[in-house]
Symmetry: C2
Subunit: 314 residues, 2 copies
């Protein structure tokens, strides 16, 4: 469930655009007004506001936000204002650049979005970057990590609930055999994790756990510093328990010496309209502190206000 | 250009459905009437006829065609009657079955369809087989062939004309280096051929040819019996010169001792509405005999009539 709160009655897109224009005008910027509007409209409504702003003032709302705001608050507002597919395309593109490279971000988008949403990201990527998403991911990675990531981003998984238990048993055994041989990047392992439906993978991993005595991620923790294994475990978690995966990203981001604002902003802006409610529940269960409190402790100013608004605390 | 001929004025879908119903009725089947209708309607029109048939007679037109017809004629009519994405999904599924396995068919559909058409095939595959296309392809192949085919079927290539010449030069060199080392299934080679746009691959291979003295496919012909290399050369041809690729499939199918009807039927039914005109031109250029004549020499009866109708000879 989403945490985004949209008032039951909202102004027209033209009125919202005019208010935003006013928030930018003169000396200083009215950040509260920006939050009041943009952090309380859904994706379709934000799109209409952008269109109205462009039509009314001949400027791109995103460019004006970029010019008026700064730092973490700016990034949170910009990312949230984008449409989901646009935002994901932007995040993947950024994650393939040398200075902002992040295999985790690429994996996260590939594994946590629905098949059709992931495909929309690939379509948007064509339009925006005049390239395919997979060519950038493949070009900027190599070796085992490339094999895993390219397979994950190009997947179009079946999304039905049907599960083939015979297959689950035989593929759990394949996984166990490969892991026992330490063939962590075996093509069979990649095939199973990157082509099977999430329901099927879940059945396979349940069988793995029941039959071989350990959760697969425990067996994959032979070397906690291995980059590929860390990514593989995260992918498995993200495919099977996305809310737990996201709570962990938040936990690591918040507990870090000097908060990881990029992770925090990414999870809050991408999940506020999807499953942030469940993520917050998992967070509180695991950390014994409400997510809002944890965020308030670790952030400040307009950035704090924006995040709290998105997780439904304002 | 297509070869399919649709009369300027056609009966309504209900009338066509009624005629087909009549063609099946009584003792014997009126094959000429079936050809007259189904081989002279475009995909959208055939779909309406199927819908009208289902609504009017409570039966599936395809099932009735299956029951009434036989052998190569049956296969040609059934394949052509299907919608393009449905037909491709059917062909790929068939190609992943043990008895009808064909890596060439999988490659051909992945490489010759537009990005959005290939994606429609993947969507249709979900709906029809309750699985993803890539999971069946990956499950039924292995080793180098799997690496190549899974990358090709999951691609969503950018389709713009933009070409990056710096990249073309550097990637031509990568290809040449790998081929010189006989690393034919190197991950870089697969990456380039499976993620770059067709325009970009073309530029890269032109540079390869200019700079290293041979067309890439000549350098890939070190062992004419190697299954992977044969498939790789076919993929490169299919990506860069689809009409030449298809003329070659026809040529091999027709020249074979005892015609390869499956290849013939596949190419004619899948290309009649797309680029059959160009394929026929390439065929005549390469074989010094018009395609229609070659088909007439090698086939007979209703099957011959159906194919000739689809290539615009009737």
């Amino acid at each position: 469930m989403a945490t985004l709160k949209v008032p039951s009655s909202i102004p027209s897109p033209d009125e919202d655009a005019a208010q935003l224009r006013k928030a930018f005008a003169g000396w200083g910027t009215n950040e509260d007004l920006i939050i009041e509007i943009l952090a309380h409209r859904n994706a379709a409504q934000r799109k209409l506001i952008r269109d109205a702003y462009g039509a009314g003032y001949g400027e791109d709302l995103l460019k004006d936000l970029d010019a008026e705001l700064s730092s973490d608050f700016q990034r949170a507002v910009l990312l949230f204002t984008l449409e989901p597919a646009e935002r994901d395309a932007y995040l993947v593109n950024e994650a393939t650049k040398r200075l902002t490279a992040s295999n985790v971000v690429i994996m996260e988008i590939a594994c946590s979005r629905s098949s059709s949403d992931l495909f929309k990201v690939r379509q948007t990527y064509h339009a925006r970057y005049k390239k395919s998403l997979e060519e950038d991911v493949a070009y900027h990675t190599s070796g085992d990590i490339r094999k895993l990531l390219v397979s994950l981003v190009t997947a179009f998984r079946y999304e039905g609930d049907e599960v083939n238990m015979t297959l689950a048993r035989s593929e759990a055994k394949i996984l166990h055999d490969k892991i026992s041989e330490k063939s962590y990047c075996d093509e069979e392992l990649i095939r199973i994790l990157s082509t099977r439906s999430k329901a099927q993978i879940n059945a396979t991993l349940n069988h793995y756990n029941d039959h071989f005595g350990n959760a697969i991620n425990k067996d994959l923790k032979t070397d906690p510093n291995d980059e590929f294994l860390t990514l593989l475990r995260a992918a498995i978690k993200c495919l099977t328990y996305p809310e737990k995966y996201f709570q962990k990203v938040l936990r690591m981001g918040i507990n870090k010496l000097g908060t990881d604002e990029w992770a925090l902003t990414r999870v809050v802006t991408t999940r506020a309209e999807v499953d942030m409610q469940r993520i917050a529940e998992e967070y509180q269960k695991r950390n014994s502190i409400p997510l809002g409190k944890a965020i308030a402790k670790d952030t400040s100013g307009d950035y704090e206000k924006m995040l709290l608004a998105l997780i439904g605390q304002v």
